[in-house]
């Protein structure tokens, strides 16, 4: 049967990673637009919150110790920081030059990465943020209000229908719906089968296709998932390179270079520019940057 703990663990082993149990640390990201870093760190320290700088992130910190929820401090409620898992803080940082750009966040809710994009853009340009579920857009609106975001428009829209907006984008974040990974879901191995993975991979290719159509020449797509399955990651990116007039750009970030030989398939060489993060101090993650080639 193509499911279950043993099945998936043996796949990870084939990819060169030995399974280990992980315990994730909660992480925060300072909203640099709203807070001066040194002063905020001092304020949190005075509340008894012990932080550790995340070495591969500019504004990210792990929570080492806190007597109360970091989601209930006045600093959080005033939008001085956001709670965002460490690996999830990576994708938005992979774009080159975001200020004054028109950016699409195609699967945006609950909005952690939208807020991060706005912070990196210093509220300039415009972010168009979409989500298919209306109630999730309410959560996104709350985040935007809490963090004083002023450059974002949200729509209740399926990412596959983005062309309806009749807008071309300089940058597109595709943090696509995915199968997730065991590090953030203790029942993951019980719940997931290879059929789920393949269904998600198909949806992701549909989203990639639509996004590539509304991307300007020389524009960038950052594609990310929190799935460990190659069908949703390396295989999809190879498919995009072959079909969507995009190329994989080199990125400098945490994680290991993706493999180009997986489960007996030999992939296009540029796939090695993608980054794969195995669960450990962060959750499992995959990210890469695609650039649209001039027609």
């Amino acid at each position: 049967m193509m499911s279950g703990r043993e099945f998936f663990i043996s796949r990870y082993q084939e990819l060169g990673w030995k399974y280990e149990d992980v315990e994730l640390k909660q992480a925060i990201r300072i909203n640099s637009m709203n807070a001066e870093k040194a002063s905020l760190l001092k304020r949190l320290e005075s509340r008894g919150i012990e932080l550790e700088k995340i070495p591969f992130l500019e504004d990210g910190y792990w929570i080492c110790k806190s007597k109360f929820s970091v989601g209930a401090t006045s600093e959080y409620l005033l939008g001085l920081y956001s709670i965002q898992e460490a690996a999830a803080q990576i994708p938005a940082t992979l774009f080159t030059q975001l200020k004054d750009k028109t950016v699409l966040d195609a699967c945006a809710a609950p909005g952690g990465k939208t807020v991060q994009l706005a912070d990196l853009m210093k509220n300039t340009g415009a972010i168009i943020a979409l989500d298919i579920e209306k109630h999730r857009l309410t959560a996104l609106s709350n985040q935007l209000e809490r963090c004083r975001i002023e450059n974002t428009i949200t729509y209740n829209l399926d990412a596959r229908q983005v062309s309806r907006l009749d807008t071309k984008f300089d940058r597109i974040l595709l943090d696509v719906p995915c199968s997730g990974n065991f590090a953030t879901d203790k029942d993951w191995f019980k719940r997931r089968t290879i059929t789920d993975v393949e269904r998600n991979a198909k949806l992701q290719r549909e989203i990639l296709t639509r996004a590539a159509k509304v991307l300007k020449d020389d524009g960038e797509i950052v594609y990310s998932t929190c799935s460990l399955e190659p069908e949703e990651n390396e295989f999809n990116i190879e498919w995009a390179v072959k079909n969507l007039n995009v190329q994989v750009e080199e990125v400098r970030c945490h994680g290991e270079k993706a493999q180009t030989s997986i489960f007996g398939k030999h992939l296009e060489g540029s796939i090695k520019n993608c980054r794969r993060i195995w669960p450990g101090r962060t959750q499992g993650f995959f990210a890469c940057k695609l650039k649209k080639v001039r027609a």
Partner: protein, 160 residues
């Protein structure tokens, strides 16, 4: 955008918004910039800065609007750290927790509540003249940033 300017007046403040860039969407108000105005189609869910909403003839300000007003001349009460926490938890402000009163906060008028970093925590209604030496609860909590947590909880209940 009368409800917004009327609300600011209740805080003894004045606010002027560019009418062309202020958009009413059903009962909610948003302030856009020129780029967003050009890009936004009429079926948006949220755009630019959310300013507040009207319900049954009453205007409910957003925290963005309160922060905008806090940058201007307005009624303000600066509170100590303990009172900051209690206020965020929905409690009224007691006289002993007040560090400073800015403006002429008379009984019945609205005032912003700020922490010692001048960050706006919400607003309330004066229960007495704040320059009088009266003990006890002096500002009734109307809205505080703890509302973000209450919204999360109610959304979780609705969708779980």
């Amino acid at each position: 955008m009368k409800p917004i300017t009327d609300f600011a007046r209740q805080l003894n403040s004045k606010i002027s918004l560019d009418e062309d860039l202020t958009v009413k969407k059903k009962n909610r108000y948003f302030l856009l910039n020129k780029t967003l105005k050009r890009l936004a189609s009429k079926d948006f869910f949220h755009a630019g800065m959310y300013l507040g909403k009207e319900k049954d003839g009453v205007f409910f300000p957003s925290f963005n609007l309160l922060a905008m007003i806090a940058d201007k001349r307005a009624n303000k009460v600066v509170v100590d750290e303990k009172t900051e926490w209690l206020f965020i938890c929905g409690r009224d402000v007691f006289k002993r927790g007040i560090i400073r009163v800015i403006g002429s906060v008379k009984k019945g008028s609205y005032t912003l509540i700020l922490n010692s970093y001048s960050e706006c925590l919400g607003f309330g209604k004066a229960l007495s003249d704040l320059h009088e030496l009266k003990e006890g609860a002096v500002v009734k909590n109307i809205l505080d940033v703890g509302d973000f947590l209450r919204r999360e909880r109610s959304s979780f209940k609705t969708h779980s």
